[in-house]
Amino acid sequence: MQVTETLAEGLKRQYKIAVPADYLETQVTAKLTELAKKVSVPGFRPGKVPMKLVRQRYLGSVMGEVLEATVQQSSNKAIEERGLRPAFQPKVNVESFELESGVQFTMDVEILPEITVADFATLEIERPTALVADEDVDKGLEKLRNESRATKKVEEARPAQSGDTLVIDFVGKDAGEPFQGGAGTDFQLVLGSGMFIPGFEEQLIGASVGDEKVLNVTFPAEYHAENLKGKPVTFDVTVKEIREPEQAELNDDFAKAFGLDSLEALKIAIRGQIEREYAAAGRLKAKRILLDKLDTTHGFDVPPTLEEAEFNAIWTQFEQAKAAGEKDPMLDGKSDDDVRDEYKRIANRRVRLGLLLAEIGRLHNIQIEDQEIRAAIFNVARQYPGQERQVLEFFSSNQDAITQIRGPIFEDKVVDHILTSAKVTDKTVTPEELLKADAE
């Protein structure tokens, strides 16, 4: 095998590789001998086919295989000998392939840049944290309280108002005939909820217990039942009870509805949840700051093909969003060229950080356990209730999907690793500041 370097420019390398004919010959012969044991040719018992015949019949297909294997092997060997670390699969261009003269091919590689990783201990990162204020806990409680929709019977006689819940019996009639699905008894209807067709609830406002009313309403034109579309009908309604929403008492009983012993425990639970939210947000911010730092402290060239691929991915997304009429507020009032430049910058940053994190992970021997991948897959599966099985099958049969899921896990691990060794100082900020989303 003869390797000559024909191009070394930036991160691009091109090699011309020639494999001699006798190497090919031995490979081909070995393959054919292997094959001769298996092929069946009429007129011969299996394994008794003369070599000459086998060669004549199968040379073409064997040559193809040998070519592929040879190119693969020799390019790998060339890469190994030179200690190259290619950024992705090398591009191979076969120039000539003859059994008599051997193989000549060129190989285009883009190598990974040499990255010198800065000492993490010198990195100073401010991790924003926020204290959970008592008001926040109270707010959380209040939200829970509003969500629990308890109602109580109105004892005094008063007309129904919006927001009340009426217990009604109703029969819908189309030209005097009851129609299907138009009747109900002891139905709880919240006035103003818009649950029924327009006009129904409004006409019940002001009704009192024991009232029997005939409501004239018209079904909307886009009603789902074909025979009722746009039809004027009447409803005979009997109001049996008026209930008003009740503010749940904030006491231990309220907490028990959530499976906790006391109000105090509920408060602690809410506080804990908010704290977790803040911590996650803080971590996200810290990660961002860290990535920014890494971005500025590590300057190296990025393999153009990788950058190009990343940019194309972003760009396709952008075009799709544009076609769908969505607009990124960040890009308002910018021309396509400006947008392109902006995205180029983002692509470069992403690839650079990706490479850097990969390098750091490699240097510090950060591994992903199968368990972690499995946990991540289960997390994904949980998002598709009822289809968990299919999701799991999809992952077990699809290597690409697993690779995709690996990426973020790896990134997180590397970031965590850096954060443990970097100088991290906590800085207290207001919750609003903490939760404010960053634009990339």
């Binding site: 040719v41 007129g43 011969f44 018992r45 008794k48 003369p50 015949l53 004549q56």
Partner: protein, 106 residues
């Protein structure tokens, strides 16, 4: 017959008709070491005819021709007794140093 021994004349068409196909089997490969080439030929072809035909078609010198009539196997076809066709096999000995590439076809 005397005519045949001296070298018979036969039409080109007859020559191409006589030689049906090469026989490529283990047995045929074995005798090819001794410079024999094996063909399937017309049942009614004679040795002199075969010799002349092979010489004409492949442009070689034939030293000897051995023939055998291979009887068709008796088989049941759709439950009725039947018989595969007989054929004549000719082992042709070529002059030293001459070969015929059987796979290239006539």
């Amino acid at each position: 017959m005397s005519e045949a021994k001296k070298g018979m004349t036969l039409s080109r068409e007859r020559a191409y008709d006589i030689i049906l196909s090469p026989v490529i089997t283990e047995k045929a490969t074995m005798i090819s070491d001794k410079n024999f080439v094996t063909f399937k030929v017309l049942l009614d072809a004679t040795k002199p005819e075969i010799k002349a035909a092979v010489e004409m078609v492949f442009g070689v010198t034939v030293k000897a021709v051995n023939t055998v009539t291979v009887k068709g196997k008796r088989k049941l076809f759709k439950g009725r007794p039947g018989k595969r066709s007989d054929y004549k096999k000719a082992m042709v000995k070529l002059a030293d140093g001459q070969t015929i590439d059987l796979t290239t076809g006539v």
